[in-house]
Symmetry: C2
Subunit: 207 residues, 2 copies
DNA sequence: CTCAGCAAGTTTGCATACAACCCGCCCGTC
DNA sequence: GACGGGCGGGTTGTATGCAAACTTGCTGAG
């Protein structure tokens, strides 16, 4: 059996990212310990790690809450993503093997076929994660992970207009095509457009 | 008295950043607990947080070591800094008040006067930190903190040639001048040059 | 009626005890 | 003599108990 702390971390991460636990919800240690059938110690450990990832906010003697982001912070996060994620895609392109490209195509296709919004969030996270991992830079991956978490949690595909959703799904397909062509510039440009499109529906333009 | 875990975190962070504990050193929980006169619990908490900051590496059942960075990772870290820190400086310029500018001048001047290398590391960290904080973006500050930590730990001013050191110190002064002039473009450019200069002495060029 | 002060209850923070796991060494076997 | 298995020491991972801090609701004075 795997370490308890890690399992707790994963469980909470999934629940937060999938939206099962809403932003701002209070996370009592004892309550979580009972619910997950472990003691408070690994729960504390897990909360500490998630706080490091930026998924929960931890204030001394006042416990943990699921992180919340102001509109201003979301804007700043997109600014960061725009500086890092297109670069990551560019680095990833020459490193992607054909089987990975196939996987990416499958993910992009699955997102188009898919109808469940919950599943869409997960597929989307895996799609972006594959590019980030393929970039092959641990520091870059670490910096982006914290930053994209926020976007994932806050991402409400229900807010997407049909047009915006259509664009987003096509961006995924186009990005894989660019990668398959070995054209880093192209892929990078598509990722930029992808992020601007997402930002437009989430916070409505640059201001 | 302040919370024990926080004090332990701060102590270890200082010791690692100042180089008092070398890169790769094993950090036994029991040993640290005795040395800092606390139990293992807050020590574990501290190690967990420092791992999140990227200062220590934590492997399951095998304990903690002070983080080490390969030359490849250092290269990637500089790539990240080059994308984020000049941008941070640009954002900071219009937000810096005159008393903060005075402080920055004092730091830059102190670095010139200073002869102790240990003190230089601390002054340099505070100088860069002020710009990052002034940028006013928590997500940006978080991303940069993890990334600059590595550079600070690995920074060996003893490796600087007199010329490189002279350039570095002058960059600081010039950056404050640019900020005082309210010229974000100028300040950003100086920071770029500052980072390239540092990279050249630390890993020797882009490759 | 409002607000300051306080007291009970709940929650976090720390210490200690126990269990699980990893590493190194020894011994036995091939 | 070399290699594989296992046994012991030591370290990390988890559970539990207790002390300190915060929150909340009440009470009484203004």
């Amino acid at each position: 059996m795997r370490p308890a702390a890690e399992q707790v971390t994963q469980s909470l991460r999934d629940e937060i990212m999938s939206g099962a636990i809403a932003s701002g919800t209070r996370l009592g240690e004892a309550e979580l310990a009972v619910r997950l059938s472990v003691s408070r110690t690994p729960v504390r450990e897990a909360l500490s790690r998630l706080a490091a990832e930026g998924l929960v906010e931890l204030t001394p003697h006042r416990g943990a809450r699921v992180a919340t982001w102001s509109e201003e912070q979301l804007r700043e996060i997109f600014e960061l993503r725009l500086r890092l994620e297109p670069y990551a895609v560019r680095q990833a392109v020459p490193r992607l093997h054909s089987d990975q490209l196939d996987q990416l195509d499958e993910l992009a296709e699955a997102m188009i076929q898919n109808r469940s919004l919950d599943r869409l969030v997960d597929l989307n996270r895996r799609f972006h994660g594959m590019f980030i991992d393929a970039a092959g830079s641990l520091p870059l991956a670490g910096a982006l992970k914290a930053v994209t978490h926020a976007a994932v949690v806050h991402q409400n595909f229900a807010d997407y207009t049909p047009d915006a959703m259509h664009r987003s799904l096509n961006h995924h397909v186009e990005m894989v095509a660019a990668a398959r062509a070995g054209d880093g510039d192209w892929a990078e440009a598509v990722m930029r457009a992808h992020l601007y499109n997402a930002r437009a529906t989430m916070i409505g333009g640059p201001l």
